[in-house]
């Protein structure tokens, strides 16, 4: 009998006819919407996390085990056999932290890239803001990173690393790393919808990027080749973040960073500008194309 029925008071609708006619509740809608994105994000992160080690015996333990095993391999090859060191008494810790951070970047960009395509089935059936899919995928790598950082800290304590006040700055570095990761993931995810070739290209590119950063080798080896070359390496925003976090968390005395190695502040600002540019470009490219994803896949 009544045309307009509010959810809360179905029966009172008839009486409601008069006054409140025009002004539609603008604010509640706002909050409702952001809530919606949050609820969906939470559910997707949960699902992704459950799916991740689906069917494996050790499950979540792999989040810790995999980087540790990689670390053991690299430790023996580079620290024991090739005798790499940057003069830190805890180079093994510096190496482990670098691997953990790099793993995050590699994994998050990969998962972000695949995320849209792998959820194509869902997107053809329900409409929801699809950037959430990419965010959820990268957030899952964030969870792994958090667990891994816990392991690094425990190991560092055992190894007798002296923490300074700079540890408080680590979240800033993580945030920067996450910003560039999301920017890259958004671009890759968009591209992947159109051409799957990007998956193979990105694999090769990641390999190249890995060796272009002082993760397994100390920066001093690059300086030996040419100081200019070392500066160039530090302009890479990923390298800059990883070095910063190493500096803040473990070895402020010995870790060369963009800030203490490059003296021209304008040049040193390049990595930060790159992060902002990549994030902005990623958001722009994704937004431009995201409405068409359901049709293309």
């Amino acid at each position: 009998m009544n045309n307009s029925v509010t959810e809360p008071n179905r029966d009172a609708a008839g009486a409601a006819s008069a006054a409140a006619a025009a002004p539609k509740p603008a604010k509640p809608v706002e909050t409702g919407k952001s809530n919606y994105s949050l609820v969906v994000l939470k559910e997707l992160v949960k699902t992704d996390f459950k799916m991740r080690y689906q069917g494996s015996l050790l499950g979540v333990a792999w989040t810790v085990l995999k980087p540790l095993m990689l670390f053991v391999v690299m430790y023996f090859v580079f620290v024991r056999f090739l005798k790499f060191t940057d003069g830190t008494p805890h180079f093994a810790m510096v190496l482990l932290l670098g691997i953990v951070l790099w793993n995050f970047f590699a994994e998050a960009t990969n998962m972000g890239m695949q995320s849209i395509v792998s959820r194509g089935d869902l997107m053809r059936k329900v409409h929801f803001p699809n950037y959430i899919i990419v965010i959820a995928a990268t957030l899952n790598s964030m969870i792994s990173l958090a667990i891994n950082l816990g392991v690094v800290i425990v190991f560092s304590i055992i190894n007798g690393v002296h923490f300074t006040w700079r540890v408080a700055l680590v979240p800033v570095g993580i945030l920067e790393l996450y910003a560039i990761t999301v920017g890259v993931a958004l671009m890759l995810a968009t591209f992947n919808v159109y051409y799957r070739d990007i998956q193979h290209l990105w694999e090769v590119f990641l390999q190249a990027l890995f060796y272009a950063m002082p993760i397994i080798y100390p920066l001093s080896m690059a300086v030996n080749v040419s100081p200019r070359f070392a500066e160039l390496i530090l302009l890479n925003p990923v390298a800059q973040t990883i070095q910063d976090i190493r500096y803040w968390l473990i070895a402020p005395e010995t870790t060369p960073t963009t800030w203490n190695y490059i003296h021209d502040p304008w040049v040193a600002a390049i990595p930060l500008l790159l992060v902002a540019a990549v994030l902005a470009l990623g958001i722009y490219v994704f937004n431009r194309n995201s409405r068409k994803f359901a049709e293309i896949m």
Binding site: N2, N3, S4, K24, E43, K50, V126, F128
Partner: protein, 511 residues
């Protein structure tokens, strides 16, 4: 306000006339999808843009306004970089454009049960996806009020690796419900799906029927305002289908819920929908009255698929019809050709064509009779071909739904302009409204057991009449209580020795 119930019954006629109420908008969501692909989810944003929902009548929950959709179909495989580059260097577009929907406009009112029918590939599903916001229109806009719950491609997007419970919660979140809201409807969903014992199993261990049942239950039990259903009436086993039917019947009565249904089941359209549109080649070709839409759809299905709109045929029978026998050659031509040669529908009212330019049911008795009377009517037709043909009619109960009586195929012997009259006694029936529809058929050349329809009466050419007994209260049943001898018999289950000692109590006499 009372307008809703009355409007519901008269909606067929007043498809476009908005009921006047100045009731406040009680909706928590307004969405406008424009061609540019900008989506305004909030009222605030919507108000800033020129396309506001302000001019939308209060009871319109969905307005599709001149919407067109074009798909780009790749002509050669260009899903690789190499091919894309080669195409680019050669200046090849690599795709061809297919117009799926052209200039579609319609309104759906609150409380409607709105049917969208059309043959495969006509663009129905694309339209549903546009309405659901999954696709964006090329031009035009779609305005929507309230929470929309889609059920498209037989599912709501389940993950096979999650348990049934987790899937329900994930899906609820995607559909825009908070955790507490889903908690509230969870039991309902599980109960409707009859999957209480399976909710902690992974979905991949479900049978396909169970999966669809769960998905469908989520869609219909979710407390959305607009429910969009795509080809669902064949879901589940018979028991579940009966349940769905009951659900449809109840949601049809609910003036706050709107259902948009895509189906090939014309029975369902006639039974549930109050309005419908028929889409053909991306255009709306019939809109409004559900019976006309359903009949027109059945007619469309006689044509071979994807024939380009038939060239204006040299109307076969019309000219020769007057000159007696010479029409025979055309008429006995093969059925497909005859069907394809049907003239453009504009020339004849729906259901009629050049072969049968006239078919109408007329009342002979007064259109209001009592159960003591007999009702006499005649069927007037014009048919000039010398092939065997049949007439049939159906007595439809407009109050309770369904066909009450149908005499079967009656062979006709006279051609030309004829009137055949029939008389039906009404004494078995309680008060009701009846509608008589009629159709002409000919034997199907491909299947001698079957006949195919060549003409039928549309809403206008059908006949409505009423059976009314003064002072009689309305009955749930169409057949009078006194019509059968009702036998009642006790069997005392406590007394083991002599079962059935209590004698029959004979026919009960009511009233």
């Amino acid at each position: 306000m009372t307008s809703k119930s009355s409007e519901k019954s008269s909606r067929d006629a007043a498809a476009s006339a908005p009921s006047s109420p100045s009731v406040p908008s009680s909706l928590d969501e307004e969405t406008i999808i424009t061609a540019a692909g900008e989506r305004h989810e909030t009222t605030e944003e919507a108000l800033e843009s020129p396309d506001t929902t302000d001019d939308l009548p209060e009871d319109v929950v969905l307005r599709v306004n001149h919407v067109s959709k074009v798909f780009r179909l790749p002509t050669e495989r260009a899903s690789g970089l190499k091919q894309a580059f080669i195409n680019w260097t050669r200046g090849i577009k690599g795709y061809r454009e297919q117009q799926v929907l052209r200039d579609i406009s319609f309104d759906v009112h609150r409380g409607d049960f709105f049917g969208i029918v059309g043959r495969n590939g006509s663009g129905k599903s694309t339209l549903l996806k546009l309405i659901s916001g999954i696709y964006v229109p090329e031009s035009g806009q779609i305005m929507r009020r309230g929470k929309l719950v889609p059920f498209i491609e037989l599912g709501v997007g389940f993950n096979p690796e999650l348990t049934g419970r987790e899937n329900v919660y994930l899906n609820g979140a995607l559909l825009g419900f908070s955790r507490t809201e889903i908690d509230a409807m969870y039991d309902d969903i599980v109960q409707f799906a009859e999957l209480e014992d399976f909710m902690d199993q992974k979905l991949k261990n479900y049978s396909s029927g169970m999966q669809v049942r769960l998905a469908f239950s989520v869609a219909i039990k979710a407390q959305g305002d607009i429910l969009v259903l795509d080809e669902v009436l064949a879901v589940g086993d018979e028991a579940f289908q009966r349940k769905c039917n009951n659900f449809f019947a109840s949601i049809k009565k609910d003036p706050t819920k709107t259902v948009i249904l895509v189906t090939h089941d014309m029975g369902a359209v006639k039974k549930y929908c109050n309005r419908a549109i028929l889409i053909k080649d991306g255009r709306i070709v019939e809109s409004g009255n559900k019976d006309d839409v359903a009949d027109r759809y059945s007619l469309e299905n006689l044509e071979p698929l994807s024939t380009p709109a038939p060239a204006p045929a040299p109307a076969p029978a019309e000219g020769e019809g007057a000159g007696e026998g010479s029409g025979e050659a055309e008429a006995s031509g093969d059925a497909a050709a005859a069907a394809a040669a049907q003239p453009a529908p504009e020339q004849y009212p729906l259901g009629l064509n050049a072969r049968v330019p006239l078919l109408r049911v007329n009342a002979v008795s007064s259109p209001v009779v009592s159960s003591d009377d007999e009702f006499t009517f005649d069927v007037e037709y014009r048919f000039d071909e010398k092939t065997p043909f049949f007439l049939t009619f159906a007595l439809q109960d407009m109050t309770r739904g369904g066909t009450t009586y149908e005499p079967g195929m009656l062979p006709m012997t006279r051609t030309g302009h004829q009137k055949v009259s029939f008389t039906l006694p009404m004494r078995a029936f309680t008060s009701t409204d009846f509608k008589i529809v009629a159709s002409l058929s000919e034997p199907d050349p491909e299947n001698p057991e079957e006949t195919q329809r060549i003409a039928f009466t549309n809403n206008e050419n059908s006949l409505m009449f009423t059976v009314r007994n003064d002072g009689e209260k309305t009955h749930d049943g169409l057949i009078k209580q006194t019509w059968f001898d009702l036998h009642q018999h006790y069997e005392d289950m406590d007394a083991e020795s002599e079962p059935g000692t209590d004698a029959e109590s004979g026919a009960t006499d009511a009233a």
